[in-house]
């Protein structure tokens, strides 16, 4: 009976809400998907956060602060959504720190120059937008609602990045070189953000049936490439792929083979920054513990006194 209601709700393209009956697999998959997304937002504060103190102007510093604050906010919306399914956010943080839950592979690359801040906004947030816009129609209500809020804010992230790069491209030859170097380093990892190719993505079919995934990895990756090529042209940079060319028959850009062994390596913990990212998160959690405890103790004490 409950299962029929669940299936019918999905079939009618309506949302599943936290207290509705749902298959255990759906609940588990949703918790994993939302937690992984939340962790990505939280870990994603680090690569750009590293440049806040070194931003070249007050304007750029204020923008970067606002952006990193947004990432924190996105993480918190998402942990809230995961909690509606019975997950506990302290527990999720522990799973992240202990390496039992993953986050996006992209944040395991270093930000070597300030141009990286721009390229992250343009390409990494651009790829995130491709991934996330369809998730605003996720069948799980709290996740879909969080995604709507997040997508509204991501647009600022992408535009500030592109504007930053346009500014650098109008600068000195050394600045233009810096932008090209950053594009060279981030292009392929950005394409990997969409996950393994469809043929090697065994959960896609079930996720599409549950409407918690609306397009396949390869569809979204293609959409991202098609969007990015003209943007790269307008910026005046070259995307580091000799096989990238318009295919009139497919009406899409063809692109080169992705180094999937690199994605596997980074996902399994062996990227350039994996250890540092987790160590940093662990340190922040440990060093913040006394604040959380003190606030809880203060609240308990005040509750004991009649208002």
């Amino acid at each position: 009976m409950s299962e029929q209601v669940f299936e019918a709700t999905i079939a009618k393209d309506q949302r599943i809400e936290p207290r509705d009956w749902m298959p255990e697999g759906y609940r588990k998959t949703m918790i994993r998907q939302i937690a992984q997304h939340a962790h990505s937002e939280i870990i994603g504060m680090q690569p750009e956060g590293a440049w806040i103190t070194r931003a070249p102007s007050l304007r750029r510093k204020a923008i970067l602060l606002a952006k990193v604050q947004d990432e924190a906010g996105h993480g918190l919306y998402l942990y809230s959504a995961a909690e509606t399914l019975g997950a506990d956010r302290g527990d999720l943080t522990r799973r992240l720190i202990e390496g039992r839950q993953k986050y996006s592979s992209i944040f395991n690359y270093p930000t070597l120059t300030f141009a990286d801040v721009g390229v992250i906004g343009w390409l990494v947030d651009g790829a995130a937008i491709c991934n996330q816009v369809p998730l605003c129609r996720s069948s799980f209500g709290p996740y879909a609602r969080a995604m709507i809020r997040i997508c509204k804010e991501e647009s600022f992230h992408q535009r500030q990045g592109y504007e930053l790069l346009m500014t650098m491209m109008r600068g000195t030859p050394a600045q233009r070189e810096m932008v090209q170097d950053a594009v060279n380093r981030w292009w392929w990892p950005s394409l990997m953000m969409f996950g393994p190719p469809d043929a090697e993505s065994p959960n896609t079919a079930q996720s599409m049936a549950w409407k918690i995934k609306r397009h396949t990895n390869d569809e979204l990756r293609q959409r991202f490439v098609d969007m990015s090529v003209p943007q790269a042209g307008a910026l005046g940079v070259t995307l580091p792929d000799g096989d990238l060319r318009w295919n009139a028959e497919r009406e899409h850009y063809d692109f080169g083979e992705i180094d999937w062994s690199e994605l596997k390596r980074v996902i399994s913990g062996d990227g350039p920054m994996n250890r540092e990212r987790i160590a940093h998160r662990r340190r922040a959690d440990e060093q913040g513990a006394w604040v959380r405890e003190a606030a809880a103790a203060h609240a308990a004490k005040r509750q004991g006194v009649p208002a």
Binding site: S80, D88, R292
Partner: protein, 98 residues
């Protein structure tokens, strides 16, 4: 999930009035040690871009809600009371202002 690990701070539901004249609308939840901190966190989390002019926070444990199973008992009876709607009553087109 694992029962013994509990978050230190209770959960609050957040409601925001987008502008004067509108209702407060539920926008999400957050963790805070007490109501005052919940208000401050709600400001930082849900109104970074002029989304509101007023915020309510309510401890999630204090919310009493109808469940999916109550749907028929709660909302079913109104289905056969079409006479509660103005369109139930046939009035000739020639009658003005009604």
């Amino acid at each position: 999930m694992s029962g013994e690990i509990k978050h230190e701070w209770p959960l609050f539901e957040v409601f925001v009035r987008a502008k004067r004249g509108l209702n407060h609308v539920h926008v999400g939840s957050l963790r805070a040690a007490d109501h005052e901190m919940a208000l401050h966190h709600a400001r930082d989390l849900y109104t970074r871009r002029n989304e509101g002019v007023s915020i309510w926070v309510v401890k999630s444990d204090d919310v009493v809600a109808s469940g999916p199973d109550d749907k028929d008992a709660f909302f079913g009876p109104s289905g056969d009371k079409a006479y509660r709607h103005p369109t139930y009553y046939a009035i000739p087109d020639s009658v003005p202002h009604i």
